[in-house]
């Protein structure tokens, strides 16, 4: 039997220990760094309250596809688009706009979209029958706070209605009897979600101190009916039933007689 000299044995043990310790240290640093890193990324990408340029794909896909090059920002002739800076509390480097400062003026040639190299701004989503069409853009949806909208007070104001590039389509004015005076009409602006592009010209035009009409991302501003309710009188909506599958549920019926179930109240006490 060979006996290892003391010194050498110490050395092999310490090398292996060093190796294990180094691995553990590396794993520890990686775990800590990875945790902080992913927590931070999760936090900064969670912001939903920002408006993207026209043609932007779904936010989840947008965040992974946008390469943050700023070509859309450079293409915008009105300086509407901004790239999120550190401190803006928005996903860093991605394009957005603030309509109250500078709204989207809905250029017919949409210069910001075709320059996008990644397809994060999707040309096909702002195209109808082979031609660019800004009117089908879905940047957001204007919503009205009827408490602070002075038209709802009975004061005549149609600033948003007049500012709307889709005049008379995206915003209409509905007349309603003014019960307070008894002899005037309220001229209430109403936004139509299927037409509104979210350009924000109404928000820019609004006369109140803080805009009473403002654009929100569609996912934030709108609800969703889901599959349980279908307009049976609407052929288009009924198409949603086409691929529906039937789920049969059976409820077990109690075999006990009704009298028994009334008298047998043991469970209650």
């Amino acid at each position: 039997m060979q006996i290892m000299p003391n010194k050498m044995r110490d050395k092999t043990v310490s090398d292996r220990r060093k190796f294990i310790l180094r691995m553990a240290r590396g794993a520890g640093i990686a775990a800590m760094g990875g945790f902080v890193w992913s927590a931070y990324v999760d936090e900064v990408t969670a912001s939903q309250l920002l408006l993207r340029p026209p043609g932007a794909i779904k936010e989840d896909d947008f965040l992974k596809t946008c390469i943050k090059c700023g070509l859309c920002v450079e293409a915008c002739p009105y300086d509407t688009l901004l790239l999120a800076k550190p401190g803006d509390n928005k996903p860093l480097g991605t394009p957005y706009f603030i309509p109250r400062d500078i709204p989207c003026y809905m250029c017919p040639d949409i210069p910001c979209v075709p320059v996008c190299p990644t397809g994060a701004l999707d040309e096909s989503s702002v195209t109808t029958s082979g031609e660019l069409d800004i009117n089908v853009a879905e940047m957001g949806l204007a919503v009205i706070d009827d408490e602070s909208c002075i038209a709802f007070w009975g004061i005549q104001c149609d600033a948003c209605y007049r500012a709307c590039p889709l005049l008379g389509e995206a915003i209409t004015v509905e007349y309603e009897r003014n019960e307070r005076t008894g002899k005037h009409a309220l001229m209430k602006p109403v936004v139509h979600a299927n037409v509104c592009t979210g350009c924000g010209l109404c928000e820019k035009a609004c006369v109140t101190e803080k805009a009473a009409i403002f654009v929100l991302p569609k996912e934030v501003a709108m609800g969703k009916v889901g599959n349980y309710y279908i307009k049976g009188w609407d052929k288009d909506d009924e198409k949603r039933l086409k691929n529906a599958s039937e789920i049969k549920t059976t409820t077990e019926i109690s075999k006990r007689s009704a009298i028994d179930s009334l008298n047998d109240v043991g469970d209650l006490y």
Partner: protein, 270 residues
Amino acid sequence: MRNLWDNYRYLFFRRFTQIGLLVLYFGANAWGWTILMGNLSSSLFLDVVPLSDPYAVLQMLFAGATIATDILIGVLIVTIFYLLIGGRVFCSWVCPVNIVTDAAALLRRELGIDAISKRQPASRDMRYWVLALSLIISAMMGVTAFEFISPISMLHRGIIFGLGFGWAAMLIIFLFDLFVLKNGWCGYVCPLGGFYSLVGKISLIRVQHTAENCTACMKCKTICPEHQVLHMIDKESLPVLSGECTNCARCIEVCDDDALSFSIRKLAKK
């Protein structure tokens, strides 16, 4: 006696390309120039040629994004370019953070901090681990992980489109490099540098050492931000083959004995 030009010519050219590129990008946003639009993540050269950051696109792939053709062409052009002239040429000739970290390294030398702490308590392989981690996080979270924290893009994007709090990131890197770790950001942490180190493993333009001329003054090793790549100094006449060399050419400039020069790598192995 070598003059100022000999000692700083490459440094001058590097600052010229670094700042020149920023000026071109800045002009595109501010005055509508069309020479170089966009930024270092992706740009359009002369309104036609797409150029894209291959590392950003790699993260997009891991995040599960669909990659457009323009981007693929851009990545191909950039990758082939750096394969030819040296991967980390990006770091020392293009990246604006390099100016910040070089300033920190200069101050470190001037203040004698290098002399006080000679050993750096970290591994230069860290950048490859950060690189791997960035891809794992990209895949798990479905976003381009490094692009959301990258101080490099913060700075160049900041100079072109508005800096915000980006200056704070630069200050942090400067102080980190100055007091914590010599060449800390570029030489240890930055995954983009790590990525280009891997690209640079097979690239063509190399620094060549001629051992016969060497007087072992070690000026090159003192100035080099990645001094481990100069292991052959005064020992063997070899090209610097490590991808971690940034081709910054500072070693060539400081050498008084013509022992270092640029050369083209021999493709056929002996």
